[in-house]
């Protein structure tokens, strides 16, 4: 699956980093970086990241 983050919405709260630190991270400039292609067996984690984002910035594309 593909992970999309709307960077117009992202405010670097880092909730997704707590949920899946291997997929999401904050750079030294506090800007979010993430891995776009994620194996399907990580779906539960990715859905948790979607739900944890206070800005509703993360979405999963099939």
């Amino acid at each position: 699956m593909k992970i999309h983050v709307d960077m117009n919405l992202c405010q670097s709260h880092g909730e997704c980093v707590l949920v899946a630190p291997d997929v999401f991270d904050l750079g030294d400039d506090d800007v979010l970086v993430w891995q776009e292609d994620v194996p399907d067996d990580r779906r539960a984690d990715m859905e948790a990241a979607v739900n944890a984002c206070p800005m509703l910035a993360i979405s999963i594309e099939e």
Binding site: Q11, H13, E15, L18, P54
Partner: protein
């Protein structure tokens, strides 16, 4: 089994989603007093008010969630003996397990309702306030807490004339005196007329009189006086109220294992507060609570998990992102431990008996995340934190040398 969630905001939605995700296949009903499907509230004082987000963008996605929505239906009572929730229209909804997530409402100005004097809590409040914030309008905000300060910043972006009044000597009390003073400067630099240590003595719009005798004029007055838990409907339920809903660490009400609670109204013992009861009115806690309560509601009491992550909260004001974790207000004092050379980014820490209990960051998201991980691992000793930060090349830099006295 029948699961009923009362409250159709963030905590209620997350409870329903978590129950389904955990495999619950029984009847699931979510009751909400507003007519709207669940939406997220943080943009109401910021992005929505500035006009950069629409109400549709505030909707909380819930996909194909299999629930029966009972919206526009206020709960008026709880009959625990009959296992029923009473609604305003007279209907009774039976439950086997219940999650209470009715949140808080804005505290209002004492006395009769006045034209032009408003509060901000829900979407309809925000849309009405936004409509009145036209360029050149005069807005008086009473209360310099999270809502008051965020609305001030949003209104200045819309070229509204803003006065903020607070009886306290600083804005954003939970930040402590030093960061509060920074916050005050920030608002003044952006043209807010900040009047601290004073209250409102008379409102007869457009005439306003302050307790220090100042007379000013306002077209709109926002009362940003904090929030009150919506627990009146539980008054005769026999549940323990303080006025929040008193729960154990697993968010189970102290009086009834079939009734759990989630979100702003929960009063629960937190390990970082030494097991004392806390109540937290912030987004992330409501989301975490909802998720946990939805799962726990399906389990026998002995199998339920506690809520123990350190609370995280934030505020955006102008170009400053304020983020905090833990319980900074419980600290003996707040100390700036990291400060960038330009002074725009900082981390302040607070300890209690040598243990880190709270952290506040200005424009330092990655650093805040680091402290959050330290707090999540159980008690963190302040001297160890200090050593780790001093040795960390990624830290923002040490604060200027403290001047004695």
């Amino acid at each position: 089994m029948r699961l009923v969630v009362v409250g159709a905001s963030l905590a209620g939605l997350r409870a329903a989603q978590a129950a389904r995700a955990a495999g619950f296949e029984g009847k699931l009903t979510v009751v909400g007093d507003e007519s709207h499907l669940p939406y997220t509230r943080p943009p109401l004082s910021k992005e929505l008010l500035c006009g950069v987000q629409t109400p549709e963008q505030c909707a909380l996605p819930h996909g194909s969630l299999d629930v029966q929505w009972r919206l526009g239906a206020a709960a008026t009572g709880l009959d625990r003996a009959a296992h029923q929730v009473l609604l305003a229209d007279g209907e009774r909804i039976g439950y086997d397990r219940l999650v209470i997530a009715t949140g808080c409402r804005a505290r209002t100005w004492p006395g009769p309702e006045l034209e032009g004097v408003v509060t901000l809590r829900d979407l309809d409040d925000a849309l009405a306030l936004r409509a009145s914030l036209t360029s050149g309008a005069r807005l008086l905000i009473v209360g310099a807490g999270f809502i008051g300060c965020e609305v001030a910043a949003s209104a200045r972006k819309r070229d509204v004339e803003v006065t903020v009044v607070d009886i306290a000597g600083q804005p954003m009390l939970p930040l402590g005196a030093e960061l509060g003073a920074r916050c005050a400067r920030l608002h003044e630099e952006h043209g807010v007329d900040l009047r601290l240590g004073t209250g409102v003595s008379r409102l007869d719009l457009p005439q306003v009189e302050l307790t220090d005798g100042t007379k000013l004029e306002a077209d709109v007055v926002l009362m940003a006086l904090g929030a009150i838990p919506n627990t009146e409907w539980l008054r005769d339920s026999g549940l323990e109220l303080n006025p929040g809903v008193v729960c154990d660490a697993t968010l189970t009400t102290t009086a009834d294992p079939d009734v759990l609670a989630a979100g702003d109204l929960v009063s629960w013992p937190h390990p970082l507060a030494r097991g004392e009861l806390v109540r937290v009115e912030h987004w992330t806690v409501a989301a975490e609570h909802g998720q946990l309560a939805g799962r726990n509601a399906l389990l026998a009491r002995a199998e339920r998990m506690p809520h123990d992550p350190p609370p995280y909260f934030w505020s955006d004001q102008y170009d400053v992102k304020i983020q905090a974790v833990g319980f900074p207000t419980a600290a003996e004092r707040l100390e700036i431990l990291e400060l960038s050379p330009d002074g725009d980014r900082l981390v302040a820490v607070g300890a209690q008996d040598g243990q880190l209990v709270g952290v506040i960051a200005f424009n330092a998201a990655k650093r805040l995340a680091w402290y959050r991980r330290q707090l999540a691992g159980g008690p963190a000793r302040m001297d160890q934190i200090r050593e780790l930060v001093t040795a960390d090349a990624g830290a923002l830099g040490p604060p200027p040398v403290e001047v004695a006295g």
